[in-house]
Amino acid sequence: MSGTLNANYVQSDVGANLYFNTAVSSGPVIATVPVYTGAGAATPLGGATNPVSGGIQSANNYIQKYVYNTANGTYTSADFTAYPANGTDAAGWVDMGITSLAFNQYSYSVTGPNEGYILMSAPSGSNTSGNLVYATDATGNYNSHQWYVNGFTNAKANVAMTLDKNSNLKVAGTVSATNTFGFKNRLINGAMMIDQRANGANTSLNGSTGSQIGIDRFQCNNYGTGLTANSMYYQLMTSSNTAAPNYEVNSAPPGFSNSLKITCTNGQATSGLSAIRRNIEATLEGYVIADLGWGTANAKTCTLSFWAKSNQTGTFAIGIENYYGTTSYVTTYTISAANTWTYITLTIPGPTIGGQGTTTGFPTDNNGSAQIFWDLGQGSSISQSNSANLNTWLSGDYRGFTSAVHIGDTSGANFYITGVQFEVGPQATPFDWRPYGMELALCQRYTYVYNNTGLSDQTYAYSPYSPASYTSLPNSSASMPIYFPVTMRSAATISNVTGGSASSLNRQTASASQVVFQWSSTSSGSAYYVGSFIASAEI
């Protein structure tokens, strides 16, 4: 036998029990070696660091070491307590316990009768004293709690935070989070609810030069030297309205009704077409991400999340870069099962290179600042070919990955996407559903489609438009303003003017807030109107 048993004690047997007899001394039992109890005490946990005691037993049930307070007074509780070196009974401890049925002590009024608790009293003068930290490792579970701060004498009603039995979190003070609760999604129309231009029609990406416009805020590109015209199409799909012409079963994941679909009808291998642009592009205006500090040492980490589905499987690529293509980041994601919606989350470290200059960095004004490209088969001149260069910000214009799956390579290949969210922080959170009218207004900062369908009485312009003021001028002109519902990002390009008197239109000029149509008439008293037009301030 090793260790010490205080010599003031003697053993005595009473029936089946062994007692330390206190007849010799009223002092405590002292053991200067670890004490193990239980049926398995002979084989304690191996490798435990500096144990002072343990209970070891094998049972197909819980085993326990307990403190049992048999009193039921107003001050009664049973507790386990731990102290640091500078702790005392007065302060400097953490205490886990349960109160009695009759408990009613003012000094600890944060706890009521028969309530469990963890209390912490900071040692006076400790540098970081005062926090009570709840934490679990990766295998931990979450449980309901009430949190109190600033003293154990708080009334029960002064609870600072409660996670209740229905999983509702109630906070008495102000909630502050890196990704705010409303408007956390920096992208617009991520649920693919708005398609002002095509209204759900299957639209060709014609393969000529210049960017193609897709559904609102998601530009679809398929152009460049060597590409066959009309080799890909885009369409807003719906899985909810079975009567809609763009209805398709399973064209949206649970929780969504729409998606953006890309279909390749004439596959062309990317190899040899170094300068082609085949992608879905979402551009973030500088004002929208001015707080991210992208391009500076304080760049914030962000998370891109979305749902994707394809009849192709494998590794797909995404490129993110500044608007002027001088700083870029390429990453990949996997679709393992064909024709199955997959939720993708990608954490993007903030770029600390590139600056915030208007031509070389991430601008913070009303111009484009950052762009996200879903690679559908980008040309090799704008694609990373070395996997070692993935997942890091680099100088240069890279929007894809040569070894990724390319929808544009294969006739009949398709790609669906919806629920796209780009938010601050390293964690993807549930999709930020905003009111439809608000989302539409956000879209109309970039594109506004006017249509007079449903109007019984047109708004007419009559010639002359101001004869009284300009009597020396011919009375053969007429003009008519139409005000945009939302101030646009820039002065707008006006196109697709149709209907009414469009054929005799002399010109149309626009600012960021309105367009004025102007006709040169051959006679006074002529009446003009327009049926539809598109105002574009896209980036």
Partner: protein, 77 residues
Amino acid sequence: MYQLYGKHEITGQDIQAIKRLEDNASVPFDHNNVDFQLFIKWLKEGNTPEPAANTTLDSNWVSNMLSGYGSINIKRL
């Protein structure tokens, strides 16, 4: 291709927009407008717009435009 709108009938000032002939779109002279940026890029490539109907293009028109807008940021395609 592009075409000038000419001068305003009343003020006599140049119309601050240009017609894009491929779709008859009106592109405003706003350096933040991407279509205008692409027009400036087209000018810098040595191209010249058509004058307004029944007019001739001022010989300094292109150089004046590039003097005023030649350094604007242009969307990268």
